[in-house]
Amino acid sequence: MKTKSNRTASWLMLGAVLSSVLIYFFPLWKITLYAPQYPQGIRMYIWINKITGDDAYTLQNINILNHYVGMKDIDPHAVPELYYFPYALAGIIFLGVIAWLIKKRWTYLSWAILYALSGAIAIYDFYLWEYDYGHHLDPKAPIKVPGMAYQPPLIGTKHLLNFTAISLPEWAAVFMLVSVVLGFAAYWCCRSSSDKQLAHHHPNILTSSSQSRVLSHH
């Protein structure tokens, strides 16, 4: 039975799916490096399927700087996640469409939970990569600072020798968050609307508030 709230939930779910599609077109994360020699900063963008920079040479330039302390080259081809994350996202979007077609509370809820968990895993995976780059250093590195690791922050600012690294989510991460929130909102909308439906169609069944009102009459 179509109700206004059900239609709202459906729209919210559709918004969640569309917002997820946008993730393909924007970077998820941005790491900015500042140093005395780079007053304008060097920016690295992490996308669902690639790593880019200010220009075609940014990664090469970051790698040249990193090799002094023995960090591995950042090679997008060596990061398998960049291959299968786009498919994983496509799967989630597909399930979202299914949930939207079924239009049931539980489909919305399970989709939102699945999505939130996937997002959390992706962020944890990103952290692991950062840890790996920052800690596994070439023992033959020209510059060795005892006890020093070069893991950039997940979110926030960190000083690493002459560099200040700032790591922040970008638009695609915002779209991902919006998708999850809309998914939960669709679930919530559905629930609250079913409550109202009950109240409307079975006037004899008293809600707790109407009951108390009735009681006070007596």
Binding site: A56, Y57, Q60, N61, I64, Y68, P142, I143
Partner: protein, 662 residues
């Protein structure tokens, strides 16, 4: 026989000139004590105006010719800070220009390799008579050439030789849309060159004015020459606006003297401004009304995709003879050996700076056109009609100074003229011809420059006087002193002296353009992907050493902070080694150098990111010789080194190369 020095009947004139000169020098020394005069402002005020805070940019780029260093120096205005020296006609050991195999062809001429010249006049390319920031042209005075500098890279990308010319001084001024760059001969010579007595000057000598066509790509081609009488053609400027089809050349020595010109070329009351209609010239060339003259000349072009210059040798040139081409050239009588000829922003007024007089003659383009129509001629020279002086004169600026050389303009209808002998800049008003202000300079200015001051749109905020004599202005440096530039604020009624700064070489002319036009065009790196030098090494894996007989080609890379290869063996005495070095960096300002011990004929290489350059090295001793990076590129720059082993031809050492092999 005429006496060699000071012919009796002409003794008075040089004597008179001498007295005036002494008076002028006295005047200038007086000026030096009252440093500033009317336009004086406090040192603090001046300092504030020229102070460009650390990290801030100058408002203008100024390009100053280097004169006898054959280069161009780039300064910021108003700070007077030197940013770069652009080698043009001279080898520059600092960056290997003219030493690397890729750049040597730029210095080729029909005389062979000439690694020096005397560069006088920088000229920015123009669109609609306004500097557009594409290229800078500059002339070579000694072995006549014109060069083009690309303002994306600030590198010389073309040099073209001018045949039949000698002392390419009235050059390289551009027409309103850079259709042509002109190159007038300063010295008349036999054309074509031949072995004749110098005393046969009047019969055998001529002067050519050359027109170099500039393609939209910037490539230059010698289109045609105009054969003029055997005078000395001194300076030039193209018209603009209504006069845009014309180019004006000053000339002196209409006496056609060939010895002791300081006296013998200063006898006539008037010399000439030659007005040439280049549109007419184009028509005559199209109609085939030219003569093929012999003449071998080089056009050397730097191909940006291969980063390599190639020389193209041309034979023959199209020459127009004015007597056969009516309407092509007119002479305007101009007093006393005119030097600079300058056209105001409207294109109507043509200022002839008679360097041996006190006054300036200003001609009107409208009146010139009228005089031509009404045939108001005063005879002719070699078939070139001479216009009546009074018919074309717009006004005379009674300056009170002495020795006017050059005039530039602001955007408020004012003109500014340097006076060499009285050592000052005089500001006067177009139309009223009244002097508005005068300020001393220290000392003896040649050219002056206002950004865009010879264009249709002067940025009339600053004026730079280019002084020839410095004397006591700076700390003494032995007998050889620098030249000096002086910056004036000309935004108000009175000129205000703001700054003195020493210059490099001997700047003659200069041009300036707002930084906002050039900055966005400036390249930061050379794209390695579009480096098509035949000897490029794109990755370290491609580095190699190839022997062909006694020639060894080393394909080498540089990146912070190592060479590949950095150990080379199997080179023998008697070999010629070509190090083809590619800088693999693609980051702004990540330059590397390359130098090898015992390098006799060549300098180092300085490689910008993405560039390939080649150094020729002929080892002369057996041994192991280091090579290293000469540019302090990185924290491990000092480790950026390698060895090349040179063996006796009697030994047997295999050709090997490596990096990182223990």
């Amino acid at each position: 026989m005429k006496p060699k020095i000071f012919p009796q009947q002409k003794q008075l004139i040089p004597l008179f000139c001498g007295i005036i000169t002494i008076a002028g020098l006295l005047l200038s020394s007086c000026n030096s004590h009252s440093s500033g005069g009317q336009g004086a402002i406090s040192a603090q005020e001046a300092a504030q105006q020229v102070y460009v805070a650390p990290g801030q940019y100058d408002e203008f780029y100024a390009f100053m010719s280097g004169g006898y260093n054959g280069q161009v120096s780039v300064y910021g205005l108003p700070s007077g800070r030197l940013f770069k020296i652009i080698p043009v006609f001279s080898q520059n050991p600092e960056n290997g220009y003219g030493y690397s195999e890729e750049t040597k062809p730029l210095l080729m001429t029909s005389y062979g390799f000439i690694p020096w010249d005397d560069a006088h006049h920088p000229e920015l390319s123009q669109t609609d008579g306004i500097p557009d920031g594409r290229w800078l042209f500059i002339n070579a005075n000694n072995t006549p050439r014109v060069a083009r500098i690309d303002l994306k890279t600030f590198e010389t990308v073309e040099t073209i030789e001018i045949p039949n010319s000698a002392g390419n001084h009235s050059s390289p001024f551009v027409t309103e849309n850079t259709e042509y760059v002109v190159a007038g001969t300063r010295f008349s010579v036999p054309i074509p060159q031949k072995d004749v007595p110098i005393a046969s000057y009047k019969q055998n000598f001529g002067g050519v004015l050359s027109f170099i066509k500039v393609a939209p790509s910037g490539d230059m081609d010698l289109a045609f020459q105009v054969m003029m009488p055997g005078f000395d053609y001194d300076l030039a400027h193209a018209g603009k606006g209504k006069s845009k089809d014309w180019v004006f050349f000053t000339c002196y020595n209409s006496e056609e003297a060939h010895t002791l010109l300081e006296v013998n070329a200063s006898q006539r009351d008037k010399d000439f401004v030659a007005a040439i209609n280049w549109k007419k010239a184009e028509e005559y060339v199209q109609q085939g009304k030219y003569h093929e003259f012999p003449g071998t000349y080089y056009d050397n072009r730097f191909d940006t995709s291969t980063q390599t210059a190639h020389s193209y040798v041309h034979q023959g040139v199209k020459v127009l003879i004015p007597s056969e081409c009516p309407g092509l050239v007119y002479f305007i009588p101009a007093p006393k050996s005119p030097h600079g000829v300058d056209v105001d922003p409207s294109g109507n007024y043509i200022v002839a700076n008679g360097k041996l007089s006190a006054d300036l003659s200003v001609f009107s383009f409208d009146k010139i056109q009228q005089a031509i129509q009404q045939k108001q001629f005063d005879g002719e020279v070699n078939g070139i009609p001479v216009l009546k002086f009074d018919a074309v004169l717009a006004g005379i600026v009674k300056s009170g100074g002495l020795g006017p050389l050059h005039t530039e303009f602001d955007d408020k209808g004012n003109a500014y003229t340097t006076f060499f002998i009285s050592s000052e800049v005089v500001k006067w008003k177009l139309g009223t011809w009244q002097v508005e202000d005068r300020q001393p300079t220290f000392y003896s200015p040649g050219h002056l420059m206002i950004p865009g001051g010879d264009s249709r749109k002067p940025w009339g905020k600053y004026l730079v006087a280019l002084n020839k004599i410095t004397k006591d202005r700076y700390l003494p440096t032995g007998p050889e002193l620098c030249q000096s530039a002086q910056l004036f604020d000309i935004s108000g009624d009175k000129m205000k002296l703001l700054l003195d700064f020493p210059t490099v070489g001997e700047p003659h002319y200069a041009q300036a353009i707002p930084a906002s036009i050039l900055m966005p065009r400036s390249d930061k790196i050379y794209q390695l992907a579009s480096n098509h030098n035949p000897y490029v090494t794109r990755t370290e894996k491609d580095a190699k050493v190839v022997r062909k007989g006694k020639r060894v080609d080393v394909y080498m890379t540089e990146i912070r902070s190592h060479f590949v290869p950095d150990n080379i063996e199997g080179i023998y005495l008697g070999d010629t080694v070509y190090f083809h070095v590619t800088n693999l960096e693609q980051d702004w300002d990540a330059a590397h150098g390359f130098a090898v011990e015992g390098n006799r004929e060549n300098a180092e290489l300085l490689l910008m990111p993405g560039q390939t350059k080649t150094l020729k090295w002929v080892p002369v001793r057996v041994g192991v010789f280091p090579f290293y990076c000469t540019d302090f590129c990185s924290a491990l720059h000092q480790e950026m080194q390698g060895y090349v082993r040179v063996s006796s031809p009697n030994d047997n050492v295999a050709l090997t190369w490596s990096t990182g092999k223990e």
